[in-house]
């Protein structure tokens, strides 16, 4: 936690032990996956990132949005220096910074960072220049050669070698670009693309003739017949593609390979593929109340006041999540609740073999760390 000292000054306290270094400001404390503690800090007017009580040597006008590689060995953050924007990776800034950079992403492998960047200057209310195109995507500080009116939602493939993004070539011409090369297909709208982890194909929801369908590698894969389509996700082996779909106005579900599940709700969120197998889970609600869990087209019996992102076991056999009912939270596994409730539950974690669940919770001002077998969830 961030600790306030006299002065005023701030530092980090870890298990009751304060860091030696103090700062004028400190915010956004985050643990990396490998257990290091990071925090964004300001001293003498400059910002940087501190990791385990050691601040990066490079300082910036502002630093935000700390990100980690999957293993946690590489740390990235967004930076602004002298009005220019980009990334700092382990304390080293991009060689080229841009007039603006947003929608940052960091590859799982930690080998690449990307953002939508402004590559041409724009005077106030200069709508003509804007519509000629001033945006691109920069990967590791190098912008694509191609420039678009807009770029959104850059995403990496699992290896961090390829980047896809939604683009707008004119105010009315939406499409997708992969590594700077735009699809020929032109759509009335498009949402964020996603890579097939097995084949490298790129899928994106696109709107055509007033309905949404799924385009894969510049060809329609799911015919446009949905009222809405987004948050698509592939199974890890790439064999299945699922997305949140609106089948009728106000009715949402999950469609797998273009076929909607037989249940619908006013709102569906948090589509989550299993890490093994080809299972999908999602949350459903009636406008943020009465949450239900959808799993492979079936609806669990429980209804909750709030539900948090589902987590699969590594083998895809079990699904767990934190839920809230009447102000108390607990963990539910495969539709069954842990018998004890808490003030607050954090995301559960499965053991590698999927037989045990780590419950992290707060109750009565105390932290609880409970390791429970999946058979202990009986409620």
């Amino acid at each position: 936690m961030v600790a306030a000292l006299e002065g005023p000054a701030f530092t980090m306290a870890v298990n009751g032990e304060a860091w030696e270094t103090t700062f004028d400001k400190a915010w956004y404390p985050r643990f990396s996956p490998d257990g290091r503690l990071t925090v964004l800090v300001q001293a003498d007017g400059d910002w940087t990132l501190a990791v385990d009580d050691v601040a990066w040597e490079e300082q910036y006008g502002y630093v935000w949005n700390t990100m980690f590689s999957a293993s946690g060995d590489i740390i990235a953050a967004c930076i602004q220096q002298d009005g220019e924007y980009g990334f700092s990776i382990d304390g080293t800034p991009w060689e080229t910074l841009f007039e603006n950079a947003n929608q940052p992403v960091f590859s799982k492998a930690g080998n690449a960072a990307a953002a939508v960047v402004q590559v041409k200057s724009l005077a106030q209310a200069d709508i003509a220049t804007f519509q000629e195109g001033i945006f691109s995507v920069a990967v590791n500080g190098e912008a694509w050669d191609s420039i678009f009116v807009n770029c959104w939602n850059p995403v990496f493939d699992p290896a961090g070698k390829n980047v896809a993004a939604t683009i707008r070539r004119s105010l009315y011409d939406y499409s997708v670009a992969v590594n700077g090369k735009a699809w020929t297909g032109s759509y009335a709208c498009a949402w964020a693309p996603a890579f097939n982890p097995a084949t490298g194909a790129v899928a994106a929801p696109v709107r055509k003739a007033g309905a949404w369908g799924m385009a894969i590698d510049d060809a329609m894969a799911w015919e446009p017949r949905f009222g809405q389509l987004w948050q698509q996700a592939f199974s890890p082996d790439g064999s299945k593609l699922a997305a949140i779909a609106c089948t009728r106005f106000g009715e949402f579900t999950v469609a797998v390979d273009g076929t909607p599940w037989g249940v619908s709700f006013p709102v569906v969120t948090d589509l989550t593929p299993s890490p093994a197998g080809a299972r999908f889970a999602a949350l459903a609600s009636e406008h943020n109340t009465n949450f239900a869990v959808l799993c492979d087209g079936k609806v669990w019996d429980g209804r909750y006041d709030m539900a948090y992102a589902p987590v699969w076991s590594a083998d895809g056999a079990h699904l767990a999540l934190a839920v809230e009912k009447a102000g108390r939270q607990t963990i539910v596994v495969n539709g069954k609740a842990y018998p004890q409730s808490f003030d607050k539950c954090y995301a559960p974690a499965f053991s590698p073999d999927g037989k045990l669940v780590l419950i992290r919770a707060l109750a009565g001002g105390k932290c609880h760390r409970i390791v429970a077998p999946v058979t202990a969830f009986t409620g």
Partner: protein, 437 residues
């Protein structure tokens, strides 16, 4: 009768747009729009209006100018009927005229619906004209620039990703002297509500964020603000006719609230943003209602008062009057709650006439003020009826819980020398509430 052709105003965006049009292109886009997006609603309106003119006195432009070409029915006649009569095949200059009417002579305030014996929603018709103009690339320069900003930054003022959290931290720091221990909690998962504002607040009205934080702190509520894009609830793309960008902006807003697992969204004192979040963009996205419940500040302050969470040291002594923002009164029915809040805060409330759902628009909303300097004077003169209404109250303090209303009303006050000043509810609550010694 005069027509729009008699009062054309040069605008770079409109002029540039029509320069690229042909009658054939206009017809193609018009037909696609009518077939693809309008459906039975437009056809019904087009075929049921009997041109009775009951809508005339509902429109502040007409009431100010007393020129029949400003009546709602005349605005439809000069735009949509004209297009339908020509099967969409019109000269590009007609589109210039349609755009000027649609973007700068109608605030989409929907007052005229209340006076139409057939319930025709002229605001909807004019919105479709705007949608057509957007699809033809004929939009006023300044509102188009704002729509560009939404598309590039997910906020309407080109606020960059660092400027937002930096501003919140600055306001938190500023507040510490007055309210020890005050926090502006960023990205708190599971808070009772996410507070969202419009981009002009971090850009040049940061005191409103300060005041809101002070009120929430004093009320002891569980709240948060996002540190990431999705914090801006405004949506000028809704008014420029760019429904796709409107939806993208709103999706970011709602998904931010969903990510934070808040129970609901509380919005600052803005009317058009409420319309976008509560009524328009959510539906374009496929949601029948709002995926996360949305509460306007008027209603939220009312709740805090009901719960006894706002404690005052005294009431505001000078007489005040209440302006009813179109989007939260006609659009949401908050007229009674607004009055309960104002009466709680103020000793002497003088109603303007007409009031509540019959109140006149500020003439800034509907994106009209966002069309910028070329149309400013016309906008202000086009609401002299509001100036007369304000003057008749005889008070000097005008309470208006809407940003655009403040902009429009301040212009009117200045132009007509009304010796009034505007206040948000947050201004009053902050001024009157108990504070630490």
């Amino acid at each position: 009768m005069k027509t729009i052709a008699d009062r054309l105003i040069e605008d770079e965006g409109l002029r540039r747009g029509v320069g690229r049009l042909t009658p054939e292109k206009i017809q193609k886009v018009f037909k696609e729009l009518v077939a693809g997006e309008c459906g039975a609603r437009m056809k019904t309106y087009m075929e049921t209006c009997v041109r009775c003119g009951m809508c005339a006195k509902a429109c502040h432009y007409y009431m100010s100018h007393k020129d029949p070409s400003y009546t709602p029915v005349a605005k439809v006649s000069q735009t949509m009927w004209r297009l339908f009569d020509a099967d969409g095949k019109v000269d590009p200059e007609v589109i210039y005229q349609c755009a000027q009417v649609a973007y700068t002579e109608c605030n989409l305030c929907r007052r005229c619906i209340h006076y139409c014996p057939l319930g025709i929603d002229t605001g909807y018709i004019i919105s479709v004209v705007r949608r057509l103009c957007h699809k033809l690339g004929v939009t006023p320069q300044y509102i188009q620039d704002t729509a560009h900003s939404h598309s590039a930054t997910m906020n309407q003022m080109w606020v960059k990703d660092d400027e937002w959290p930096d501003t919140l931290q600055w306001q938190e720091e500023e507040s510490r002297e007055e309210f020890p221990g005050l926090r502006i909690p960023l990205d708190v998962e599971g808070a009772d509500f996410m507070y969202s504002v419009i981009a002009p607040e971090p850009k040049f009205r940061t005191q409103l964020i300060y005041q809101a934080a002070a009120i929430f702190h004093a009320a002891g509520v569980s709240w948060t603000m996002p540190s990431t894009p999705g914090w801006d609830n405004s949506n000028m793309a809704m008014f420029s006719g760019d429904s796709e960008i409107m939806a993208r902006v709103e999706r970011a807003h709602y998904e931010t609230a969903q990510r934070l697992r808040v129970k609901r969204i509380v919005m600052g004192e803005c009317g058009h943003a409420f319309r976008a979040v509560y009524d328009v963009a959510n539906r374009w996205l496929g949601w029948k209602y709002h995926p996360v419940p949305v509460v306007h500040s008027v209603e939220f302050f009312w709740e805090l008062i009901q719960q006894g969470r706002i404690k005052l040291t005294h009431k505001y002594a000078d007489p005040v009057t209440i302006h009813d923002p179109c989007n939260i009164i006609r659009g949401r029915g908050l007229m009674d709650k607004l009055r309960e809040v104002v009466h709680f805060l103020c000793e002497n409330v003088v109603e303007m006439s007409p009031n509540r759902e019959h109140n006149y628009c500020c003439c800034a909303g509907g994106g009209v003020i966002n069309c910028g300097p070329p149309f400013k004077n016309v906008r202000i003169v086009g609401n002299s009826i509001k100036a007369e209404q304000l003057k008749a109250t005889g008070v000097h303090t005008l309470v208006a819980p809407c940003h655009n209303c403040h902009g429009g009303l301040e212009d009117i006050i200045s132009k007509f020398g009304l010796n009034m000043h505007t206040k948000f509810l947050g201004d009053l609550i902050y001024e009157l509430m108990e504070k630490p010694e």
